[in-house]
Subunit: 334 residues, 2 copies
DNA sequence: TTGTGCTATGGTAACGATACCATGTTAACG
DNA sequence: CGTTAACATGGTATCGTTACCATAGCACAA
């Protein structure tokens, strides 16, 4: 495989001149440029980015660390990231942590070894320490979707508390008094905030006695299981609140398997919408997060940091959620 | 940021010894190993993979070039790839070509510059030439999902022709005589094969006069549009065959918007299933491809090539599709 | 004329690791 | 006791590129 030196020899110039032509940096006469370009074409020369990055200390690579690309929410985020990054010549490495502390650690180490310029991180088990370590190693970080307390980091997320509050308020306004929350993990900030929103709405309506919260992973299996537990209540809840899309789908399956009609017998509201490309008849009343834009914004913020254009202080961008009312929330109770 | 030399100095050894400890290659006494490890920990040393790869000529990086990660089929493939690759210490770079020739070219060039060890490619506009160029540049290639004629390359895909044939046969057995195919792009091998399967079933049943094929991109919008065209037929078709998941969802929306009941008035069958995590009540009768395994197998094949374990000749692995009969195909016609 | 600044190009070192070769120490064996 | 082999460590060159500094021609202003 030809190197920059081979090209230089063939074009009758110094390697550095070839470099200047390739990168369009510094001066190069029209004629030299042409000679170099033909030499490149004739040899089928492909620059070696490893060498370039080693010398220049920039890899033009970002990393996106999410929990699971299989979740459409993260899929959309990833397209937002990828599109934004690739438009300015950056590549993106994706990592799925599956909410595992071990995987997260392993990937972060790997990414640092790869000298990525920046990391977009949906923290699963990140601590202030681990974030600081990343920054010490010269990589910029932007937190996505979730908070990590007591650190100075840029963050892009949605207002989970307000979104959940609105959903529950909507149910209460329709006459529901017995609403069960199917939460995510106890330690995950989005889950915590959504439950907080639920609590605020419940408390405001003077229903503190009717507060019922279950916790579990953000999975369909958990949604199913927690719903089955909720269905042992007497009297039955009149509405369920799923803290994310998978939980709610699991809940729906549990209700179906129990022969319970939605929304006639039990109403369901949920965090996270499903992309319209995947659903024929959207059914869920949801608090929809602008996932694509989250990825986009976070990437823009990160790129600004890298180019030194961003202001010194950390930014916390909080995007609004959109409440979309559909059938699953039903009508006003009789 | 500390380098291997800093570690070496602090541990009182030569850099190469540190290297041996890190990579667990060659000999190192228990005691030296310990000294090196503490030095690494104290300095917060992180090896620089760029330098390592530049010297060793291996990046331990694969690339997955797909058309759109937003399609659950490719999402599943990507998890198959990622899980298999990361289990043996490989990182994966994802690229979305969106079926664009320009993007595909741009990404392939970029990936070669990055010196990826291997590329898993869902060819959108790849030619034998472009594949050979990749191989000349020292990267291995495995084609995924689609064929490129007249090249020697490893391939992992499903039997599109047989899958489509089975779906159409199923409709014919239930009495359908007027089945419209909503195809993908004319040039894409999967689309071509699926239409071929459709044609074979139609011909076998002596229905050549009732052959109706439309072509368009693999998108929901196209599925919608083509269905609207199909609905202008007189008499109306009794069944539709969508060549991929997005097309079929678009078709369903068109039928819904036209006030046509599925399957009562028109039956629908489709290629590609949706993951059960995303659907409460699976409805489509489909030819399901084992997407995750496709990613897995392709990655294994690629890794075998890289380690030189694979036999010389190219392999073509063809996985079977599974016909899953659900409601959308309806009952036997009256 | 001298000085200044733009254009165009090149030489040398360095980025941070490992490949390759060399060397010394120790244990084991006939 | 000498030879062999496994163990343990190090020196030097090199991967392919760019940073940094240097040089030289030329136009133009003072």
């Amino acid at each position: 495989m030809p190197t920059i030196n081979d090209v230089a020899k063939r074009a009758g110039v110094a390697p550095i001149t070839v470099s200047r032509v390739i990168n369009d940096s510094g001066y190069a006469s029209q004629e030299t440029r042409k000679r170099v370009e033909t030499a490149i074409a004739e040899l089928g020369y492909v620059p070696n980015v490893l060498a370039r990055s080693l010398r220049s200390k920039r890899t033009n690579t970002l990393a996106l660390v999410i929990t699971d690309i299989t979740n459409p929410f993260f899929t959309s985020i990833s397209r937002g990231v990828e599109d934004t990054a690739s438009a300015v010549g950056y590549t993106t490495i994706y990592c799925n942590t599956d909410e595992s502390e071990k995987k997260e650690k392993k990937y972060l180490q790997l990414l640092l070894e790869k000298q990525v310029d920046g990391i977009l991180l949906v923290p699963a088990h990140s601590t202030p320490d681990s974030l600081e370590f990343i920054q010490e190693q010269g990589a910029s970080v932007v937190l996505l979707d979730r908070k990590v307390p007591n650190v100075e980091v840029d963050t892009v997320r949605c207002d989970s508390e307000a979104g959940a509050y609105s959903l529950i308020k909507l149910l209460i306004d329709r006459g529901h008094r017995n609403i069960v929350a199917l939460g995510g993990p106890r330690e995950t900030s989005t889950s915590v905030d959504r439950i907080a929103g639920y609590r605020r709405a419940i408390a405001e309506a003077g229903l503190a006695d009717h507060e019922h919260v279950y916790y579990g992973p953000f999975t369909q299996a958990s949604g199913y299981e927690l719903t089955m537990k909720a269905l042992t209540h007497n009297p039955l809840p009149t509405a369920l609140f799923g803290a994310n899309n998978f939980i709610s789908i699991g809940a729906m399956k549990a209700l179906r398997d129990s022969g319970i009609q939605v929304p006639e017998e039990i109403a369901v509201v949920s965090f996270d919408d499903l992309p319209s490309t995947l659903v024929v008849d959207p059914f869920f009343t949801v608090a929809a997060q602008p996932a694509y834009q989250m990825g986009q914004k976070a990437t823009e913020l990160l790129l600004n940091r890298l180019s030194g254009e961003a202001p010194q202080e950390c930014q916390e961008i909080i995007l609004p959620v959109e409440i979309i009312v559909r059938q699953s929330s039903g009508n006003v109770l009789a």
